[in-house]
């Protein structure tokens, strides 16, 4: 084996670019994953084959290496990947493209000048997949797929801190399924589980990506609504309430409906901690549970805010 052949035996990608971003070296690992042979890409601009690289962060990294002579680390967390190598599909944690952690280093000429950049590409997809899987296990409620209480506490604090920094609105609603014990007793606990799962699915369709739906415990859920005023949070909650009420649930041969009561609160200056808002929403929920199937704002405990609703009937089962 010649010394230069060693590059082709490495289990990482190695690419060398000159100052004009022309490819000067392309090892075997790169050929395998890109499908591009060295004799095809050598002396051509890398942007011809990977136009996505022609972006400020990559150009900045190259200039940093060429100008300062230092090594640049492009982390997977920030950049995902440099070279888009498509991966076959898989489970929900799968990545569309190979996740890469890259190191860019200067290559010095004999006179000490730097005219080339060496890019080492490490495939970290397996580690990323594992991390995502662990996060899912760590953050999600097993039964419903909503976020769990631990994640809720963490995000609530983060959103509270963000509100402190930027002063944007922050609201939340907490809701509880009405007469849930009766559902469990009359139709069975598995039907109750099914109802929780369906409610989570239904509610999610009405929320934005930035909203956080978490199972608070038992049949209680919490929605963190960033950048949402109290008025808007009441409207959202009313939509969620109506959506749950409309949902027809089926369990084996039985058909049933369920309703939910909502407490809504928004962060106000006198609230010094994130949990103060949670407490305010919880108090509003307590009021809502007096009537059931309604939305109550923490700002006004004397009555319902969005619309007065009749007390929900006990779950009706159709055989």
């Amino acid at each position: 084996m010649k010394a230069t052949d060693i590059l082709d035996t490495l289990p990482i990608g190695l690419v060398v670019l000159d100052r004009s971003y022309r490819v000067q070296s392309w090892n075997h690992w790169m050929t395998i994953h890109s499908g591009i042979q060295p004799n095809t890409i050598l002396n051509h601009s890398v942007f011809n084959y990977y136009p996505g690289l022609n972006k400020p962060s990559f150009i900045r990294a190259c200039k940093t290496v060429l100008t300062f002579g230092n090594v640049v680390y492009l982390s997977q967390k920030l950049h995902r990947y440099l070279f888009p190598f498509k991966l076959p599909g898989g489970d929900e944690t799968d990545c569309e493209y190979m996740q890469q952690s890259c190191t860019m280093s200067p290559i010095h000429s004999e006179d000490g000048s730097i005219n080339q950049v060496a890019i080492a590409v490490h495939d970290v997809t397996d580690a990323v997949r594992m991390e995502r899987r662990l996060r899912r296990v760590n953050n999600l409620d097993d039964l419903t797929g909503a976020f769990n209480r631990r994640y809720l506490d963490q995000r609530l604090q983060e959103e509270f801190d963000r509100h402190r920094r930027y002063g944007r609105d922050l609201s939340m609603c907490i809701f509880d399924l009405d007469h849930f014990k009766d559902t469990n007793d009359s139709i069975g606990h598995l039907a109750g589980d099914h109802a929780l799962i369906e409610v989570r699915k239904r509610v999610t369709t009405h929320l934005r990506d930035i909203d956080v739906l978490a199972r608070f415990g038992g049949e209680e859920f919490v929605c963190i609504l960033p950048e949402t005023s109290l008025e808007d949070a009441l409207q959202v909650s009313e939509r969620l309430r109506a959506s749950i009420e409309e949902t027809e649930l089926h369990w084996k041969t039985q058909q049933f409906k369920i309703t939910a009561s909502f407490g809504v609160a928004t962060l106000s200056p006198e609230m010094l901690e994130a949990r103060d808002m949670l407490e305010a929403a919880d108090k509003a929920l307590y009021k809502a549970k007096e009537k059931r199937n309604c939305v109550v704002s923490s700002a006004e405990f004397s009555g319902t805010q969005a619309s007065p609703f009749e007390q929900a009937p006990r779950p009706q089962v159709t055989l």
């Binding site: 400020p56 962060s57 900045r60 940093t64 300062f68 230092n70 090594v71 920030l78 995902r80 983060e158």
Partner: protein
């Protein structure tokens, strides 16, 4: 007795630092496309036992500040510390975040902010140290940057192989990102044993002028 630099040597190092940082600021403007103001660096000698007290008295809310630490090896040997005030990372994210915005739910903002700090730190540290050792015609290599906070920093110094009575050459500057209202401090702490190499580089540098 601990070997230190003479006043004359410190003065000459100060001169070289002024030149290096002037060039670094110009390079940074081109590379990051943002004007980075680097104040004239102040060079002084400190013992490692004085270092933490110095940082606490120099930097407001030092304990909660963010520290990007990057070791360098070779003919210069030491650690560069880039200290951002707590919260600066939020400002820098918009400047350095990747172009594709699809942030996966598994990535917390905090992690991304930490990565951005390390990337910015790597560039700033590379610019300043790179230019200094370029002028001195000495080669250094860098270890990957690490991010921590002021509170955890004492342990890092201890684990960095410094002895308490070692003298460190503190090269201190402030930087500002134009329009971003982000400023911070850069310290280069050179290990004691790199002093002879630094001294000979200084002699060579002035001898060649």
């Amino acid at each position: 007795m601990t070997d230190t630099l003479t006043e004359l040597e410190l003065d000459s190092l100060q001169e070289i630092m002024n030149m290096a940082f002037g060039q670094a600021a110009a390079d940074l403007a081109e590379v990051v496309d943002v004007f980075v103001q680097l104040n004239a660096p102040r060079v002084q000698l400190l013992s490692m036992s004085q270092l933490e007290q110095h940082l606490i008295s120099t930097i407001p809310s030092y304990e909660t500040s963010r520290v990007v630490e990057q070791h360098y090896r070779g003919e210069g040997d030491g650690v560069a510390l880039l200290i951002f005030p707590h919260g600066a990372e939020h400002q820098l994210v918009s400047l350095f975040q990747p172009e594709h915005d699809e942030l996966l739910e598994s990535d917390t903002i905090l992690e991304l902010e930490r990565e951005v700090l390390m990337e910015v730190g790597n560039i700033l540290i590379g610019a300043c140290i790179g230019r200094l050792f370029d002028l001195l015609k000495r080669a250094v290599t860098y270890l990957p940057p690490r991010c921590t906070n002021g509170h955890a920093f004492t342990g890092l110094v201890e684990s960095g192989g410094f002895a308490e009575d070692d003298f460190a050459i503190m090269i201190q500057t402030c930087f500002n990102f134009e329009d971003r209202e982000v400023s911070g401090h850069l310290f280069l702490v050179n290990r004691q044993h790199s002093l002879p190499a630094l001294r000979s580089a200084l002699v060579e540098f002035w001898g060649n002028l």
